[in-house]
Symmetry: C2
Subunit: 330 residues, 2 copies
Amino acid sequence: MTPDPIDLPTPDDVAAAAAAVLDGTAHRTPVLTSRLTDAELGARVLVKAENLQRTGSFKFRGAFHTLSRLGPRERRAGVVAFSSGNHAQAVALAAQLLDVPATIVMPTDAPASKRAATRGYGAEVVDYDRYTEDRRAIATGLAERRGLTLVPPYDHPHVIAGQGTAVHELLGDHGPLDVLFVCLGGGGLLSGSLLAVQGLSPGTAVYGVEPEAGDDGRRSLRAGRIVTIDQPRTIADGAATTALGDRTFPIVARHVTDVVTVPDSALVETMAEFASRYKVLVEPTGALAMAGLRAAVAADPQRFAGARIGVTISGGNVDLDRFAALVAAH
Amino acid sequence: MTPDPIDLPTPDDVAAAAAAVLDGTAHRTPVLTSRLTDAELGARVLVKAENLQRTGSFKFRGAFHTLSRLGPRERRAGVVAFSSGNHAQAVALAAQLLDVPATIVMPTDAPASKRAATRGYGAEVVDYDRYTEDRRAIATGLAERRGLTLVPPYDHPHVIAGQGTAVHELLGDHGPLDVLFVCLGGGGLLSGSLLAVQGLSPGTAVYGVEPEAGDDGRRSLRAGRIVTIDQPRTIADGAATTALGDRTFPIVARHVTDVVTVPDSALVETMAEFASRYKVLVEPTGALAMAGLRAAVAADPQRFAGARIGVTISGGNVDLDRFAALVAAH
């Protein structure tokens, strides 16, 4: 079902969210650079480090923006969200800051650090099995039984507008870019980023980057409609989605330059690159955009020669033992 | 031998260096926070992340400041430096940026990443054995034979003033602090930080933090003179110094509140804390200040209750395999 067009967020919504969300609440995250990476790629690479955002990922932006726009009755009743992790922590902290009760539906195999952090922010955690149960149905059921407002992880205009504020900041702080790489799971960050680009740097070529095993976005772009895939198995748990949303797909399909995919091995290489050169801890999903840039440059070096390229790190929530095991083995 | 007092840098020198060094050359590094760490310590902890500085440590500040003040003849002749690593990279990059030839005397057991980075910046590397040779004598010999200017790692007024710009920024961006913890090796960062505090926040109590095995600073403070110890063996290679300098000691002795020490095991714990909560990679030496804060709070929790506390991360240059081995084993 195609949503009513009025339900789609606009570049102005991103700019408004940037003013509202950033008002002393979200971190204006730093932009990192590496001379070595620039030299290797023959370009100027500006890395927007949303792993240094509150709760360790960009998801705080969309969650806080969405919750901040609830009415007083909805705030009192509370919210429910389903998430593989980062959206969970984001909704939990946003709810705590706004004094809203929160219930989070999380997969049983979510990283321990994400589960602990979600509980630490005072949210109630309800478990489900990622491979046999439908998290959306569980969350919807809770919403109906308890009168809660569902905060979807990506397919919501306020969520999309909130996520767009990361790239809105990047463009505001560093000016127009030639190219931008953004990770692609459900499409919240990518569609929000596309809106930010429309508003501040419409000449930027924007690439979405998916894990090879979870290439529903690329398939959807080729097919011209939302293609749903089986639950993908990838180390990029934040992009282990099965389909784009009714709101994210039309924005992506209309504005994205292309969608590229990378294997899990490239994510591990990129996590090591971020740690050794940029001195930051990045989760596998957070490495998608940089890995996609490297793949794109390898495929067509001339295309990016001398370009000013933005790269988003989506998050840094990876258990330390897992991080150590991944990068030590690579 | 006590140096001429005119040779000691002042708070005004730090302010002047901040204006000169920061003029589009050094990064204004971000300040990181963690709600979890704040809750555990019962204080507000502001972490100045110099591991995100150019070359991965604060040393770039002092090196660039010093080289930028050389005359044209000294620049043409070139510079020489001795360093366990971070000062080496810092001098090498500063020299490259200012078009000055650089020779670096490095210990054979310096981390591979630091040696590679130093060569990558175009410097000539001369090896020495940390446990049998005198690096200062080697560097001085090179300086005399080749007409080079020696850039010492800490005992130089321009180096000290440059290092002070990190805390100068922290205080400028976040206002006065109740307490500040700074790592202590040769005393360049600590004495510079003390000058910055004198200029912008004279009420701040400042603590230096040393590795237990390298407690020459604490001994010197107690003795009221520079105490030299045997070459210490600690994972904090950046603080494996044997004595404070003729210029750093009097500044530290006059202004520091106290010097505390921490065992290497606490550094590993703190590296894990920085990675899992702050999402940044920190080298063992870089963890000294936070580990010292934790030790001080454990010893006297009431002393720091509700305080605004600054903590410096000195650097993030640790080989990734070593980092993984340390934190996975902790």
